[in-house]
């Protein structure tokens, strides 16, 4: 999808600005010269027969190519480990192991049998494997094939002994344009040379996406790269956060992005060096900035950035990250009490296990002999037995976690958050169960904090609609905008084709947030907003205007959101919210918010 500059009247106007919309893979803004990294013309593989006497020589040539590939990869692995990209290094490790693959050894026999040159035999062998892999019905198939393709290309490059275009040779500040980017190439990219990466089909979920995000290189996927090649006359702007690529930018566009880029960098330096924290708007309206954490390690950053507490501790990540291999009461107690003590009386909201759906942990299914679940039988896991639903059915898992939380409660300000509440009855049931567990512990003579606030995640439309009833039974609300968007708009956020429809600032969402805030206000209970909306500066002013007083986002976003807070006025935020609520489409809303944010950034 692209839009031609409306001023262009003929086909080849020199400064025709071209905006290409793709999928955002890695955040950041870059302006650089395009560097086209297209495939070696691997279709022109030479094809010839080998004389019997030269067969062994041919095999040596093949082994040399494998040997050189290994040297490449080992060097790359060392570099990656030094950079601290362990995940990327592990992928490269797998590639190195693959060089020992018996399938590659079989190629030698084939060369002997067919007496054809290595390139032909090798490519046929790889093609066969790719064919077989693609017969499977796995969602991650692309990624599997890419690993094989990547490795085979590397070997072929050594066979051809053609001049290899390496990422190390790329001129500084290049925007690399490739039809696809194999993970090992991405791993070679240095942020100092590669300003950004634009691909035609890379897939944000692939290894490549993971590597570029780790390196902080802006990246956009799903772009018609041939169009850039055909049209590009000068520099290219890549806006990784919004998935935009601008070819032949006009002067004013260039100035705008250059400004954004510089300001972004300057701000980030300023912001992160700030010593005193002030979470108020220009007109003194106080906002609470909280952090989302997944483990105790995140807590250092939370304290460094002066967050007012943890708005969302995703307790299930402890097990998903396998920092702990089991989840006995004592082990959980150790984690919770450590976090509470370290937090030094700052509030810590523990969201009880949100498992099932896209966050699956088999540990839970195995430990329960009484409640076997065949996950494959769930046609629609997002609507299935997950989070509070699962916990209320698997009481032993819930009891263990609650016991650990209650025992740890004396070490700080702990609060319990129930995920995926869709009915007040679930809150009541959980509340009764917590009381039951409390009595159990007290009977055992264990000391527990008297009042432990209990809150509900508001992430299902039914919870929004019954917010008045919910507010009577909860001590606080936490709006999870990610799931709420997905459920309210009936859009799967994991489906790239639905990206356009997944809009957290949809008029529906704004009305829902308003409703929750109003109902909470009537009962005087606090509302935290903890979805991705909270960490996007685009929405900060709007959310404040809608009456949100607590934002919870990943630690690294805290300085960024605080900086926006310090630049806005509550009164104008309210006006903005009012105007926004009158807009009919998310497009208009988005446009207005972008304009607002840009005006805030002008120093």
């Amino acid at each position: 999808m692209y839009f031609d500059d409306e001023n262009s009247t003929n086909g080849w106007s020199f400064n025709e600005e071209l905006l290409l919309q793709g999928l955002p893979v890695s955040d950041g803004i870059a302006i650089g010269m395009p560097f086209f990294l297209f495939e070696d013309s691997s279709k022109d593989v030479p094809e010839f027969m080998i004389a019997a006497a030269e067969i062994e020589e041919e095999i040596v040539r093949y082994r040399k190519a494998i040997y050189s590939s290994r040297e490449d990869l080992e060097l790359l692995r060392v570099n990656l480990s030094n950079e601290g990209s362990t995940e990327a290094a592990m992928i490269i490790d797998a590639h190195i192991e693959m060089l020992d693959d018996p399938v590659l050894k079989l190629v030698e026999d084939e060369i002997r049998a067919k007496r054809q040159n290595t390139e032909v035999v090798f490519r046929a062998a790889i093609a066969e494997i790719e064919k077989q892999i693609s017969q499977g019905k796995d969602t991650y198939i692309e990624q599997r094939i890419n690993d094989v393709k990547d490795l085979s290309k590397r070997i072929l490059r050594h066979l051809f002994a053609k001049q290899k275009v390496s990422f190390a040779d790329i001129p500084p500040n290049s925007v690399v344009i490739a039809s696809e980017l194999p993970p090992s190439d991405a791993a070679e990219a240095q942020a100092s040379r590669v300003a950004a990466i634009v691909t035609r089909q890379g897939g944000g979920a692939s290894h490549t996406g993971l590597i570029v995000r780790a390196k902080g290189i802006p990246c956009v996927d799903n772009i018609d790269t041939k169009l850039i090649e055909a049209k590009s006359k000068n520099c290219v702007i890549v806006d990784g956060s919004n998935g935009k690529v601008i070819v032949n930018p006009k002067m004013e566009t260039l100035q705008k992005y250059d400004g954004l880029k510089k300001r972004f960098r300057k701000e980030f330096i300023e912001i992160s060096q700030k010593v005193s924290y002030n979470d108020t708007t220009l007109d003194g309206h106080q906002i609470k900035l909280l952090a989302n954490i997944e483990s105790i390690h995140d807590l250092d950053l939370v304290l460094n950035y002066g967050a007012m507490g943890v708005g969302l501790f995703r307790s299930e990540y402890l097990f998903l990250h396998r920092e702990v291999f089991s989840f006995s009461e004592d082990e959980q107690f150790a984690v919770y009490s450590q976090i509470l003590r370290k937090a030094n009386n700052l509030p810590i909201v523990i969201r009880v296990f949100d498992i099932g759906g896209d966050k699956i942990s088999d540990i839970f299914f195995e430990t329960s002999s009484t409640f076997p679940i065949n996950r494959l039988s769930e046609i629609n896991p997002a609507l299935g037995c997950r989070a509070i639903r699962l916990l209320l059915k698997q009481r032993n898992v819930f009891r263990t976690q609650l016991r650990a939380i209650l025992r740890a409660s004396i070490y700080g300000d702990v609060r319990i958050l129930l995920p995926l509440i869709s009915d007040v009855a679930e809150v009541l049931e959980a509340k009764n169960f917590i009381d039951e567990v409390r009595k159990e512990l007290e009977y055992e003579g264990i000391k527990i904090k008297e009042k432990i606030p209990l809150g509900a995640m508001i992430e299902v439309p039914s919870a929004v609609i019954t917010a008045d009833l919910m507010a009577e039974e909860c001590d606080f609300f936490s709006i999870g905008t990610n799931d709420l968007t997905q459920y309210a708009l009936a859009v799967d956020r994991a489906d790239p084709r639905m990206r356009d429809l997944y809009q957290p600032a949809h008029p529906t969402m704004l009305r829902m947030i308003t409703k929750v805030v109003e109902e909470a206000k009537k009962r005087d209970i606090p509302v935290t907003l903890c979805g991705e909306m909270a960490s996007n500066p685009l929405y900060t002013e709007l959310l404040i205007g809608l009456g949100i007083k607590e934002l919870s986002c990943p630690p690294r976003f805290i300085p960024i959101i605080r900086n926006i807070l310090n630049k806005i006025e509550y009164s104008s935020a309210q006006k903005l919210a009012e105007t926004t609520l009158n807009l009919k489409s998310h497009r208009d809303i988005h446009q207005l918010l972008t304009k607002e944010l840009e005006s805030k950034r002008v120093i």
């Binding site: 592990m90 992928i91 490790d93 797998a94 590639h95 192991e97 693959m98 020992d100 693959d101 018996p102 399938v103 590659l104 494997i129 077989q132 892999i133 017969q135 499977g136 019905k137 796995d138 969602t139 991650y140 198939i141 990624q143 599997r144 690993d147 094989v148 998903l320 990250h321 396998r322 699956i360 088999d362 996950r375 494959l376």
Partner: protein
């Protein structure tokens, strides 16, 4: 000695390159012949690419067949790998 056992793929991404490499690496220290079967396809477990061919995703059933002098311990080590999700999530 020939041993056969069924395991389930538990890591989220299934048998992709990394777990396949972990299996192949483990088998370098073992002497037995090891094959993996998934949906009527049987492959040599020492070949990463062949493991990729299985296209086994999360929850797939894999039959491990081990034959050789150290079959017992080899099988146990393999079962542990699957069980521990190849140390991934």
């Amino acid at each position: 000695m020939k041993l056969v056992s069924k395991v389930r793929v538990k890591n989220r991404l299934g048998l992709h390159a990394r777990p396949a490499a972990v299996i192949a690496r483990l088998l370098q220290e073992c002497q037995s012949d090891v094959s993996l079967t998934h949906q009527k396809r049987t492959i040599n477990a020492r070949s990463i690419m062949s493991i990729l061919v299985l296209a086994a995703k999360k929850n797939a059933q894999i039959t491990i067949t081990v034959e050789g002098v150290d079959a017992d311990e080899t099988l146990q080590k393999l079962i542990d790998l699957f069980e521990n999700q190849f140390d991934e999530t």
